[in-house]
Symmetry: C2
Amino acid sequence: VEGKVIIIMKRVTVKDIANELNISLSTINKALTGKKGVSEQTRTNVLKTAEIMGYKVNKVAQSLARKSINIGIIIPKSWPQIHNLFKHGINKEIERLSDYNVYSTYYEVSDMYSNIETMKIIEQCIKDEVSAVILCPGYYADIENGLLKLQKREIPLVILGTDIRKKFDRFTCIRTDGLRSGSMAAELLGWQIKDNSSVAVLIGNKDLKDHNDKVEGFVKESKIQKFIMAGVFEHQDEIDLSYILTKKIIREITNIKGIYVATGNSIGVCKYLEEKGLTDNISIIATDLYKEIKQYIKKGIIKATLFQNQVTQGEKAVKIIFSLLTENKKAPSEILISPSIIIKNNVDFFDLDNENS
Amino acid sequence: VEGKVIIIMKRVTVKDIANELNISLSTINKALTGKKGVSEQTRTNVLKTAEIMGYKVNKVAQSLARKSINIGIIIPKSWPQIHNLFKHGINKEIERLSDYNVYSTYYEVSDMYSNIETMKIIEQCIKDEVSAVILCPGYYADIENGLLKLQKREIPLVILGTDIRKKFDRFTCIRTDGLRSGSMAAELLGWQIKDNSSVAVLIGNKDLKDHNDKVEGFVKESKIQKFIMAGVFEHQDEIDLSYILTKKIIREITNIKGIYVATGNSIGVCKYLEEKGLTDNISIIATDLYKEIKQYIKKGIIKATLFQNQVTQGEKAVKIIFSLLTENKKAPSEILISPSIIIKNNVDFFDLDNENS
DNA sequence: CTGAAAGCGCTTACAG
DNA sequence: CTGAAAGCGCTTACAG
């Protein structure tokens, strides 16, 4: 038939290389995987020949033969609404890789501020000889020593949802793009409110780069959208605090028409506006998605939310570790993903208990 | 450490079942995979024991041992802007499964209306003994006979982007949820235009269920958003036609403030409005994403587009076929996915040449 | 209908 | 430093 295109991958195997060079399989393997016990000359030779012949390791055969990969996951017990999403993504991908001889060990820390505890757990991971570590988000500070220990043992690390200042080899941060998230919020808000209205932004903590990025992106786009940025407020991810802050904002800012809540903590804001009957006058753009937020979207109180795809982040973390460990494929030190825009008419697609992508 | 949770998958293998029952491996295999050459009693016994012992086939080992899987892909040569996205998704997933002994054969048809050609190609697929078929979108009619032939030979089929009337076993349609897409478009438009403005909808063809669904969803939500639905127009996915239609719409509909283009063919609309300097007065919600649409979004002429995630659809198609063939896991006959909302500030995340998810 | 053997492409002790 | 052998968990001819 005209237009038929067949793509068959003629496999090049270690055996082919062995035949080509008249060397044993074990030597080939040592050379290819960087293990000791081969002369530098043999190694170079094997590597070069493999390259020329177009050899690519067959991960399927490899995982059948090698030892297990054990991924350690450090995760705070607090705020399960969000952390369970990461967990779900991680588990989903590990499940998918279970035939590849991959499993996981979970280590729980009490809350998002547990630095000393986290340090201890990192040491435990090392003792347990985990193959890699995934660190779920928290307000981490002073855990640099722990990271250094992982670094020294060449244990790969992926940090989810937050950034850390230091960049190490074999360390990757995965999070949403804060700058873009902020601009997206302002763009959506701009469709809904008139020029020269006032808007406010609520974030968790002014010390976090991610939170500041969101503000910066928002401010930039708000100039284009022609509304007035009336202030940034810290709610420390406490519902009560955001409730009180909203009260203050409503009282003090004249002509306030929009609020952008840049973390998942938007419930307090909605609660206050609902109680005071102000929901028709003020548009809320929220962040992330869980049961309560879903309800506020359906009621039309939250107009849109920027979902940070925690499930996808969790999946990516496992994928990155797997290709680093099996193919020695290095990931960039920072991966910024795009938040998804969720509105009333697509919120039901995001069934957080099951599938998310 | 407190809170440590280890999950180790103790593997149950065919050997374990063989030992348990004192039967040979080949008999176990025949029973498990539904092949001929085992007594019904043995089969039942094996199946029951496997169930009880929690046996799950190791796909890694399986794919190392079995014959190749060859997926046939039928794809129109026309409109590469969109079809290349499907192709990209399919290739990406096949590449990921290449270690699993999976490859592909592409069969090209001239355009989206080539029914006779498509029929011939289906027969060619059968001759080539493909393991499964993926059919990329077109305005198919009268290809039912071909589908029946696949059905008779138990060759799984996945149809992308469109629906077919008949439902067969082992057949799956993947496409975006038309009803929701329509409502989403209306919701976004509702943020941007005043109550009682008029809006119009452009679709490809009134005979297609998918296109009608979009209209239906749009009409439903437009009542809530309080704007007036002034008409539905067919553009047959021709740029020229949509250009002329837009002219007609502008001339005849008073107070027109919004246009929803429900297929990828929005370029003609933008062109007309841009030429006549009407882009400030009329909001456009488009569908899908390619270079030209990207540019119109950046210029602010298209306010938002509902991207139908063709790449994801392609990936899903391959995944479905793979689990059907290797685990006998049946997929539903219809899979509706959610379109992604793309606006000015997140359009750059969608780099269609590389990664899309 | 049932079973013994070889092989898929790799890795891993172990011996030389 | 180099190599021969066994094994990961399955499938596939082939023989009985």
